[in-house]
């Protein structure tokens, strides 16, 4: 009987302390505008930038046209380009002029039709010169591809029109279907990926700094010599930032649905569960970093290096991991962010592919358990 009473008493004290500490953390969080800037301002900025500013789609290619041949065939060739949704052609007087435009960055490449284009064409074999600026390699590659395809289409039709050829002959036509991204825009995969970045920022960067600040300012010395347990200190630290991270998730979901029409094909509950797991991982890393460094500057730099930049560069957010050298891939697959990136994109765009979802969730859960356990182990009530 008394034991049960004791038990409940201990529990209620634990709760009082925990709630009080959470209240304290929440107040501190809300009072410093810079925290809210990271928690809310930055996600909005990032959504805006990744939704509108950064696009990996190739559209509106600015090409200069240099026509040394004014024959109907040449004009017809050019009209094909003008009508395409990929190209925004402008005319240039000479190759030199086009080169200058390219140097100045007003066009991304130019097309040159030599004066004997029509003559060559009627002989069955014509040449078109395409020069692109390689300053954006991916885009340049796409420009070459799109242009070649445009030309191939045109020449097929031209052959029909001229009636030169016998029947077109056998050929394979590629019918491509881009699954999971009907709109074929990069914002569909960038915006869900932002959730990973934002949670990493809040969970690791912000939390590491806030905890390191307590060590640095010596606020923990008095706190330690109270009945408070290290677990309570950590739990209280984690709770408000967990919700800030979830706020980021909410912002991203709203932006995805409202601004960019990104579907959420998978189970919404799984989105929440997966995000919760990753948030715990991020918080674990943050607490671990701060407990080891106990210094704001170091904590922030390590948090950036060990979690944010890898999440940006190595998690498959923009750059597909499959394209990387093996050694780098090994690093990528050691990062929890990689698994969350895969999970969140699948849930948003592809749907409930359970083997993948379960695999990723288990990996994240394991990371969360290990990291939080380590953080608890490292945080001792000791000044030694």
């Amino acid at each position: 009987m008394t034991q049960i009473q004791n038990q409940t008493q201990i529990q209620s004290r634990f709760l009082t302390r925990l709630l009080s500490l959470i209240r304290k953390e929440t107040r501190q969080l809300l009072r410093d505008r810079s925290n809210l800037l990271i928690g809310i301002g930055l996600p909005i900025i990032l959504i805006f930038i990744f939704g509108y500013g950064v696009s990996l789609d190739v559209r509106n290619i600015r090409l200069a046209l240099v026509l040394d041949d004014r024959s109907p065939a040449a004009t017809n060739f050019v009209s094909g380009l003008t009508l395409s949704r990929y190209f925004n052609p402008v005319h240039a007087d000479s190759v030199t002029a086009a080169e200058q435009m390219m140097q100045a960055g007003t066009v991304e490449g130019f097309v040159h039709l030599s004066s004997n284009f029509a003559r060559e064409l009627s002989a069955g074999q014509a040449q078109v010169q395409l020069v692109v600026s390689g300053t954006d390699a991916t885009r340049a590659g796409s420009i070459v591809n799109y242009f070649s395809e445009q030309v191939a289409q045109w020449s097929g039709k031209a052959a029909d029109r001229q009636g030169v050829s016998s029947p077109p002959g056998p050929r394979v036509e590629v019918v491509d279907r881009l699954w999971f991204n009907v709109a074929n825009t990069s914002s569909w995969f960038l915006v869900p990926g932002l959730i990973v970045l934002i949670m990493t920022l809040v969970g690791t960067f912000l939390t590491a700094m806030v905890m390191a600040r307590e060590w640095e300012r010596g606020t923990l010395e008095a706190l330690f010599v109270t009945p408070v347990r290290p677990t309570e200190v950590l739990l209280a630290k984690v709770t408000p930032y967990f919700f800030v991270g979830m706020l980021g998730l909410g912002l991203c979901i709203i932006a995805a649905r409202v601004l960019f029409d990104v579907p959420i094909v998978g189970a919404p509950l799984m989105v929440v569960i997966g995000s919760t797991l990753y948030m715990l991982v991020a918080l674990g890393i943050g607490l671990l970093i701060s407990a080891v460094t106990r210094n704001q500057f170091l904590a922030s730099q390590i948090a950036l290096l060990a979690s944010f930049l890898p999440a940006l560069m190595l998690s498959g957010f923009v750059f597909d991991i499959r394209n990387l050298p093996l050694a780098v891939q090994v690093i990528c697959y050691a990062l929890p962010a990689t698994y969350f990136m895969e999970l969140i994109r699948t849930l948003f765009l592809a749907g409930d592919f359970w083997p993948l979802i379960i695999k990723d969730c288990l990996i994240l859960a394991a990371y969360a358990a290990v990291l939080l356990g380590l953080a608890r182990f490292v945080t001792r009530k000791s000044l030694d």
């Binding site: 696009s55 390689g134 991916t138 990069s186 592809a350 592919f353």
Partner: protein
């Protein structure tokens, strides 16, 4: 006149010396200033890659004939595509693509051979994982070019053909790394240059030494110079590290002159230090200085043309980038490094950098004594 100038120089050297010591005495700081740029430049040099190198695919060949096998041989022959599985029903496609085991699926219909032999057009269905649409689209382009080559072989004597002779300037093999690495020379150093300068005043405020500094006969101008020089030096050292990695590890040839490059980098670093110091003067403590800087660095990096060209951004954002020192720096470094631009060619980048420095540095100096908060 000369004596006062000498006295001024001595005071500035003395101050700079203190600033350098404050940053570099801590061994942990030394590590954190040298290792990250090196590590990042190596890692990102490899990671920043849009070029397809490995495409896992599955095939559902319902025709299973000579033609489909020939086409598949061509696909396998590229070295980029590797087959994960050969499927027997279209239902399996969803599983492989959905679970991320394959990026594309090739589906040959059962009448593939018949259509070809009757001189018809045979469809090849290509299903692509669009979760990363950039990779997906590249893969489509790749398959299309393979198929085009296949078609060419089927009809060696097509009547009309227009041959595209494509050339690429500045980056002959169209490698992403060539574009990313020069940009990193400016971009990577900016992160810590800005953070260091933002922290330098905030740290002194937090520790109370800034008051001590203000009661010495130093003028705000002297304090400004000496707060600026150490991060400038550190920034240039970091840029040099990335430059070395770019040139000698990734062997990306440099067309322009080192002198021009450093003139540009110097101007850029001064501008970023000006931004950092202004933040510093606006912050109440280190925590704020760090967060404000970070919130600023993110858009600066993303809207700089580092990963995606400025020209592709909406007009509003393009206008905003005119206040972004990194935008000009990246343009400048690429122009000098890849295109061999001379000082006279890059004035359009130098002038905005100079303007940013002219605005931010005096603002920071004024804020030393007139705090807003």
């Amino acid at each position: 006149m000369t004596t006062s100038l000498i006295a001024f120089i001595y005071r500035v050297i003395n101050l700079c010396n203190k600033e350098m010591l404050a940053v570099l005495k801590d061994p942990a700081n030394r590590v954190i200033l040298i290792v990250p740029p090196l590590l990042q430049s190596l890692l990102f040099g490899y990671a920043a890659n849009f070029d397809l190198t490995d495409v896992p695919y599955v095939v559902l060949d319902q025709s299973s004939t000579e033609s489909s096998r020939t086409l598949l041989d061509r696909v396998d022959g590229t070295g980029v595509f590797h087959r994960v599985a050969t499927l027997h029903s279209s239902a399996e496609i969803e599983r492989f693509i959905g679970n991320g085991e394959a990026l594309i699926a090739l589906h040959f219909p059962s009448d593939f051979e018949e259509r070809l032999s009757s001189g018809d057009t045979a469809p090849l269905q290509l299903i692509v994982d669009g979760r990363n649409s950039a990779t997906g689209n590249s893969a489509v382009g790749y398959v299309r070019s393979i198929v085009a080559g296949f078609n060419q072989c089927l009809n060696p004597e097509t009547a009309v053909s227009v041959e595209v002779e494509a050339r690429s300037w500045f980056n002959p093999n169209l490698e992403t790394r060539w574009i990313i690495m020069p940009a990193m020379i400016a971009g990577l150093s900016m992160i810590q240059t800005m953070m260091l300068s933002a922290l330098s005043v905030a740290r002194e405020r937090e520790q109370g030494t800034f008051d001590q500094l203000l009661v010495t006969p130093h003028t705000p101008f002297e304090i400004l110079i000496s707060k600026a020089i150490p991060p400038i030096i550190i920034g240039l050292v970091q840029s040099t590290l990335v430059l070395v990695v770019t040139r000698y590890w990734f062997h990306i040839p440099m067309s322009g002159s080192v002198g021009t490059l450093y003139a540009g980098l110097l101007m850029f670093t001064i501008a970023s230090v000006g931004v950092g110091l202004s933040i510093s003067a606006l912050s109440a403590n280190m925590h704020q200085a760090m967060l404000y800087t970070f919130v600023l660095i993110m858009p600066l990096m993303l809207l700089s043309g580092l990963a995606t060209p400025v020209a592709n951004m909406p007009d509003l954002l393009q206008t905003l980038t005119y206040a972004n020192p990194l935008r000009f720096a990246i343009h400048l470094v690429r122009a000098v490094y890849l295109e061999g631009a001379q000082l006279g060619d890059v004035w359009r980048d130098m002038v905005p950098l100079m303007l940013i420095a002219i605005v931010t540095l005096p603002l920071a100096a004024w804020l030393f004594r007139h705090r807003l908060i």
